[in-house]
Amino acid sequence: MLQRQDLLGLIDVSKEEITEILDLAHEFKTRIKAGEKKMGYLTGKTATILFYENSTRTRTSFEQAAKYLGMTTINIEAGTSSVAKGETLVDTGKTLDAQKNDFIIMRHPMGGAPYLLAKTVQASVLNAGDGINEHPTQALLDMLTMRETFGSLQGLKVAILGDIKHSRVAKSNLFGLKTMGAEVRMFAPETLIPKGMDQLGATICSSREEALKDVDVVMGLRIQLERQKAGNFPSLGEYAANYGVNEEHLALAKPNAIVLHPGPVNRGVELTSAVIDHERSRIEDQVLSGVAVRMAALCLLDEARK
C-alpha cells in the first residue's frame, strides 16, 4: 500500500512503494503486450489532465493509461482555458475539485507547483513534470525498463548524460535509483550540472570515459537549443563533440548495457543515430513502460485513498 495519496516526486518515496508500483506495472505491461486493453479497475473514476506545458508523449501516455483502466479523462490545455485569462492555480484546482475529479494529472513549468495544487485539492495529484524539479512517472518507467532487463535495480550502474541542470528526469531518476540501491553517474558541461547533486548521491564525472566505463545503463537527456542560446555552451556541435555519446563511447559500457532516453531525442547531439537505433537501445520499450507505470500509479493511489 502506498503511503501517499499524491505522487508529487520520488524524493520521499520508499523502496517498498517503488517496488510495489514496478511490480504492478510489470503485470500491466505484460497484459498489454498480450493484447489486453480493457482493464476496468478504475471504471467510473475521472481524471483531469492539466498541462501548462506542451507535451505529446507524457500527456497521451497518461491518457492511454487512464483509458486502459476504464477511466473518464478530460484534457485541459492551459493555454486555451481560463488559466490564459489569469486564473490562479489555486482557483483552477478548486474548480476541478468542485467537479469531483478523482485525479488531477498536472504538468507545470514551475518547480513545486504540484505541491501547491495537492495542498489545495481533495483529488489525488500526479506530477507529470514540474519545472526543473521532478518527473516521477518518467523515472519509474525508466526503472521498470531497467529492472525488466537486468532483473533488479540493486547495484546497477547508471550513467546520465545531457542537460542535468534543467532536467526533472535526471533528478527523479537520481532519487529513485539511489533508493533502489543503484549507482548514478552524471556527466555534462559544468554549466548544466546543478549544485549539490553530489551531496544527493550522484557521482559527477569529469570525462565521458569515467561516466560510461562499465555501466549497465546509458541514459541520454535532451539538449535543447534554447540552452545553447542562453549561453550554457557554445554550439550544439561542440556539445556533441565533447559530451555526446557515439557507438565508440557506448563500447565503454558493459557489453549488455542498454540505452535509454526520455525523448524527444536530438539525433546527433546527446546521442548519435547509431546509438539511438542500436540493438541495445530500449527507447521504444520505455514508451510502453510509461503507460504501464502510470496505470500502476493510478491504481495504487486510488487504493491508498480508500
Binding site: 514551475m110 513545486g112 505541491y115 533528478k171 549539490g196 547533486m197 551531496q199
Partner: protein, 420 residues
C-alpha cells in the same frame, strides 16, 4: 512622567535607574527620582532600550494599501518596539519627488504613532536611467536615497548619484543585486534549491554589486550603506573595506542571522525573500559580522504582502517577509540569549547606529535626549502567530517559533504609543 526601576540599556552598560521625562525629553536619569506629581510607571524587572529604529521597511503607501499602509505599518512598528522607521520608495507613485515625501510625512503625522522617515529614490521611477530630485526630497524630509528592490544597473549613474548626494549630505542605501546573475532565480543557489527544483540565485549576484558600491565609495570618498547583507563573502568584503578605511556601513535582517535555506524545501512562499535566505556558512558569517562590528545595523526589510501575492506557485510569489513584529524577539532570542550580542550591542545595532548613519535623533538613552524608549520583558516567552500580526502582511515563514522578549511599552517623544 517617571519610569521607575527599569534596567536601562545604556551605551556600555545596563543599570537599574529611574528616568524622568519632561516635554518629550529625557530630563533625568538617576538611581532614585523623587515623585513630582506626574504619572509614574513602575517597570521593575523590565529593560528599557533606546527607542528602536528600523531603517529599512516597506509601508506600501501610497499605491499598495492592500499590502500595508502607513497606519497599519505604524501600528505594527510600535508593537514591535520601533519608535522610528524609514520607509523605502518603491511605492506607487514611486517616492522619487518631494510631493510623495511630503505626503508620507503628512500621513505619518496624522497617524501619530512612530516617526516615519521617507527614503527617496535614487533614480526617477526606480528605472535606473535619470537621477531623481534628490535635493528636493532631502528638503522635504527624506533621510536617505535608495532604489531598494533593484540595484542601479548603470555604474556611471550610480557614481554620479552618490557624488551628487554627497553635496546634500544624504547617503545612498544600496540594494545589491545583479539581475543578470539572478537570471530569474527565486531562492539561494545550493543544495536546497536543487532538492526543491527551484532556480537558484548565486552569492555572486549580491557580491558583485557590493564590491562595486564599495569601490565607488572609495573612489568618491563618500559614505555608502549596504542593505540586507546575506552572504558570507559580502560580510568579508565589507570587513576588508572597513579595515581599509572606506566609509562603508551595512545592515542585515533577522532571517539572515537565524534561518538557513533548508526552510524553502516545503515550498512555503513566505520563505521567498530577496536576497534569499542562504546557507549555514552565511548565517555564521552574519553572526560573526554582527559580533565584530562589520555589520552595523539590524533592520527588518519589513515587506508586507497580501495573501494573494503569496498563495501562488513559488516562482510567481512576491519576495518579502513581514518582519517588524518579530525582529525584537529574534534579537533577544537568537542574539542576546544565545550569547552573540550584549544588550548594549543590540541597542547599538537596532537604534544607535541607524540614528548615527542617517542623522536621526535618538539612538541612546541620555539626559537631554529625546524620550523615545522601548520597554520590554526579556524573559517572557511567546509563539509567533502571523495571523495575529497587526500588520496587514501576515507573510512570515516563522509561524510557531517560540521567542523570548516581549515589548511592553513603546514611548515616542515621551508619549506611550503602544502598551501590551
Amino acid at each position: 512622567m517617571i519610569i521607575r526601576n527599569g534596567q536601562v540599556v545604556l551605551k556600555d552598560s545596563v543599570v537599574k535607574k529611574d528616568i524622568r521625562i519632561e516635554n518629550g525629553k529625557i530630563a533625568t536619569i538617576a538611581d532614585y527620582i523623587a515623585p513630582d506629581g506626574s504619572e509614574e510607571l513602575d517597570v521593575q524587572g523590565k529593560h528599557i532600550f533606546p527607542g528602536l529604529i528600523d531603517m529599512h521597511v516597506h509601508l506600501r503607501e501610497p499605491g499598495f494599501e492592500k499590502k500595508e499602509d502607513i497606519e497599519s505599518g505604524s501600528k505594527a512598528a510600535v508593537k514591535g518596539g520601533f519608535t522610528q522607521v524609514c520607509c523605502m520608495p518603491n511605492t506607487n507613485p514611486v517616492t522619487d519627488n518631494k510631493v510623495v515625501v511630503t505626503y508620507i510625512k503628512a500621513r505619518a503625522k496624522e497617524v501619530n504613532l512612530c516617526k516615519v522617515h521617507p527614503i527617496g529614490a535614487i533614480t526617477k521611477g526606480l528605472q535606473g536611467e535619470e537621477m531623481a530630485g534628490i535635493a528636493g526630497m532631502k528638503k522635504a524630509g527624506a533621510v536617505a536615497i535608495s532604489d531598494d528592490g533593484v540595484a542601479v544597473k548603470n555604474a556611471r549613474l550610480m557614481r554620479l548619484a552618490m557624488e551628487y548626494a554627497k553635496g546634500f549630505n544624504i547617503i545612498c542605501l544600496c540594494h545589491c543585486e545583479d539581475k543578470d546573475l539572478v537570471d530569474g532565480g527565486s531562492v539561494h543557489e545550493g543544495l536546497s534549491a536543487t532538492i526543491a527544483g527551484l532556480k537558484g540565485i548565486p552569492r555572486a549576484a549580491e557580491d558583485v554589486i557590493i564590491a562595486r558600491e564599495i569601490s565607488l565609495a572609495e573612489t568618491l570618498d563618500t559614505p555608502v550603506h549596504i542593505c540586507h547583507v546575506s552572504t558570507y563573502s559580502g560580510v568579508r568584503m565589507i570587513r576588508d573595506a572597513k579595515r581599509a578605511g572606506i566609509k562603508v556601513t551595512a545592515e542585515t535582517c533577522p532571517h539572515y542571522y537565524m534561518a538557513t535555506d533548508e526552510i524553502i524545501r516545503t515550498y512555503d512562499t513566505n520563505t521567498k525573500v530577496n536576497p534569499p535566505i542562504r546557507e549555514e556558512i552565511d548565517k555564521q558569517a552574519i553572526l560573526e559580522g554582527l559580533k565584530d562590528g562589520t555589520i552595523d545595523c539590524i533592520v527588518t526589510d519589513h515587506a508586507p504582502h497580501h495573501a494573494d501575492d503569496k498563495n501562488v506557485e513559488y516562482n510567481l510569489a512576491a519576495f518579502g517577509i513581514s518582519g517588524i513584529e518579530t525582529s525584537f524577539g529574534f534579537a533577544i532570542t537568537y542574539l542576546y540569549k544565545a550569547g552573540v550580542l550584549t544588550l548594549p550591542e543590540i541597542a547599538e545595532k537596532m537604534s544607535y547606529n541607524p540614528a548615527k548613519i542617517l542623522g536621526l535623533e535618538g539612538g541612546e538613552i541620555k539626559e537631554g535626549g529625546v524620550a523615545d524608549l522601548t520597554i520590554a520583558d526579556l524573559e517572557e516567552r511567546w509563539v509567533v502567530d502571523p495571523q495575529k500580526f497587526v500588520s496587514k502582511g501576515k507573510n512570515s515563514p516563522f509561524s510557531g517559533y517560540e521567542l523570548q522578549g516581549v515589548v511592553d511599552y513603546t514611548i515616542v517623544d515621551g508619549e506611550i504609543k503602544y502598551k501590551a
